[in-house]
């Protein structure tokens, strides 16, 4: 495991095992892109089938969508700052930005669940129309990813607290960072093609 150690590199890249894990995680993200691609394909095909139910113009509140977007974008930024602090070997800076990231993420999940409850009260459930089925599946998959990311990151934080910054904990932190940024990348497309485009159409 300790073969091929290069201490000139940042902690997370120092061992061969770490470099392979990071590459492996990028390959996983490639598969995630395709997973979300299929959900976007379903939504694009079905997004105008309202079956007499509510339309995007009836449902979507641009103010709430913008709050969600800014929360997730800011959390992606603070997550970047956490990794930046990690590379300066500043454990407390890393933990501070990491926890802010998770609080912003939790705010996003709270907003999204509130939004879904609001829709259901207006009679827009998963069973109402093809538009809403594909909408809830796409948004729900993304929201589930964010929620799981919060749980995963919490476990990584506990490991950093217990073991300090080592090549192993640094690699785990870097990888959850990649995952977190990726969720914001997916949200950019949800914001654009689900909310904005459907409100104009």
């Amino acid at each position: 495991m300790s073969a091929n150690v290069n201490t000139a590199l940042p902690l997370e890249y120092q061992t061969e095992q770490n470099r392979m894990n990071i590459l492996g995680f990028w390959i996983f993200l490639g598969a995630e892109i395709i997973l979300f691609g299929t959900l976007f394909a379903v939504f694009s095909v079905l997004s105008a089938r309202y079956a007499g139910g509510p339309t995007p113009k009836d449902l979507f509140e641009i103010k709430d969508v913008m709050v969600e977007t800014i929360l997730l974008l800011t959390s992606s930024f603070t997550c970047g700052l956490a990794i930046y602090e990690m590379r300066r070997h500043n454990r407390n800076g890393l933990l501070l930005w990491f926890i802010i990231t998770l609080l912003l993420g939790a705010g996003f999940v709270f907003m999204e669940i509130t939004e879904f409850i609001h829709y259901v009260h207006e009679g827009a459930t998963m069973q109402t129309s093809a538009f809403l089925s594909s909408f809830f599946v796409l948004l729900g998959t993304h929201g589930l990813h964010v929620s799981m990311g919060i749980g995963w990151a919490t476990m990584v934080i506990i490991q950093i607290l217990k073991r300090g910054l080592t090549p192993v904990t640094a690699r785990k932190t870097f990888i959850i960072g990649l995952y977190w940024h990726f969720l914001d990348v997916v949200w950019i497309f949800i914001f654009t093609f689900v909310y904005l485009a459907r409100m104009v159409a």
């Binding site: 590199l9 940042p10 890249y13 470099r19 990071i22 590459l23 990028w26 390959i27 993200l29 490639g30 598969a31 995630e32 892109i33 395709i34 979300f36 691609g37 299929t38 976007f40 394909a41 379903v42 694009s44 095909v45 641009i62 913008m66 977007t69 800014i70 974008l73 800011t74 992606s76 930024f77 997550c79 970047g80 700052l81 930046y84 590379r87 300066r88 960072g177 990649l178 940024h181 990726f182 914001d184 990348v185 950019i188 497309f189 914001f191 654009t192 093609f193 904005l196 485009a197 409100m199 104009v200 159409a201």
Partner: protein, 97 residues
């Protein structure tokens, strides 16, 4: 490999500001203009792709590490397949409509 061991996280701050600008630009184009729907879709779609690339490069450092090239090729291929899936589905399912 980024050697930002001291100072100010300039790349991240720049990436964040540019992402905010792109987000609000998309919002403005979509809801405050009266352009045809297809034009709006092309503009906000391009803005989304630019913002995604910003995140991948400025936040995720996609091109970094000894496997930087493999990472770029892998993600680009993922986006290509996703695009083919979406565009192909729309194309096939819109026949006869």
């Amino acid at each position: 490999m980024a050697k930002n061991t001291k100072g100010f996280p300039l790349t991240h701050v720049l990436g964040f500001i540019m992402s905010l600008v792109l987000t609000f630009a998309a919002l403005g184009v979509a809801l405050k203009t009266n352009l045809p729907f297809k034009t709006i879709l092309w503009i906000i779609g391009s803005l989304a792709v630019i913002q995604a690339a910003l995140q991948l490069y400025m936040f995720m450092h996609m091109n970094e590490g000894e496997d930087g090239k493999s990472q770029i090729i892998n993600v680009a291929y993922g986006f290509f397949i996703a695009f083919v899936t979406v565009a192909g589905s729309i194309w096939v399912m819109s026949f006869g409509m």
